[in-house]
Symmetry: C2
Amino acid sequence: MKKYSKQRELMIQNLTSRADHPTAEELYAELKEQMPEIGMATIYRNLNDLCEEGLVHKLKAKVGPDRFDGIAEPHIHFECVVCGKIENAMPYHNEFESLEDEMKLIEKKVKGKIEKVNLSFEGTCNQCKGKKKE
Amino acid sequence: MKKYSKQRELMIQNLTSRADHPTAEELYAELKEQMPEIGMATIYRNLNDLCEEGLVHKLKAKVGPDRFDGIAEPHIHFECVVCGKIENAMPYHNEFESLEDEMKLIEKKVKGKIEKVNLSFEGTCNQCKGKKKE
DNA sequence: CTTATTGCAAAAGGTTTGCAACCGA
DNA sequence: TCGGTTGCAAACCTTTTGCAATAAG
């Protein structure tokens, strides 16, 4: 039987109320301020559970550790191939708005055969564009 | 100055002449038959070089180690969330043919800002569907 | 009282790196 | 000969796991 845990609660709260996609390490650092005893293993264990429950999605960046997304709606990701950061593709939203709708359409169409549709862009984020191979 | 190496040559040959997307380990095992002295570090080093040169693409599966794709043309991937295998989305090709064209279009449109557009489906492959959580 | 969940530390898995030997130009 | 490339082993980073302690129901 599933039991309540403060740790998991904080994680859900954190992940579902933000638009970016932190790594386990980043999440850990943040939660450690609200709860200094929390351990890394708990973070990973709950993250995996939440993924299985479908509440959270695991994102694999080309660079760096995995990232986690607490937003359910299909959306487009922009991933920096230099630092690995993944953001929702807002900067391109206007141009590609229709694509998110199309993603939903595709998902509906292939329901059963396919669990998820991913659409992402790769490039260099503005921060990384600033520095010449730091 | 760049020098020829038998090892890299074999890798390029292998990766550009197949439609699937092996892991470093799989590639290593195959090449070891043609060249028993070859080492894992060489595989990884060359794989990274080839990715930088743009000859090969690194694919991050949700499950298991990274995979490598020697095909340049934008195409849709189908990834098994159980075993991690990634294949070109041929089974769905008819239905979604237009999407590959759209990918190319998008890529053209955002050239400069964006290096690559990725479209992928997640699901359970036929082999994994066969076995109940083996 | 029972058992899911935790925190810690150790282990595992995948990839990268240092270095001496090797090989192509 | 010179410098890029290799193979090996050790190092590295991220994630998972075993286990005893803790806390939810």
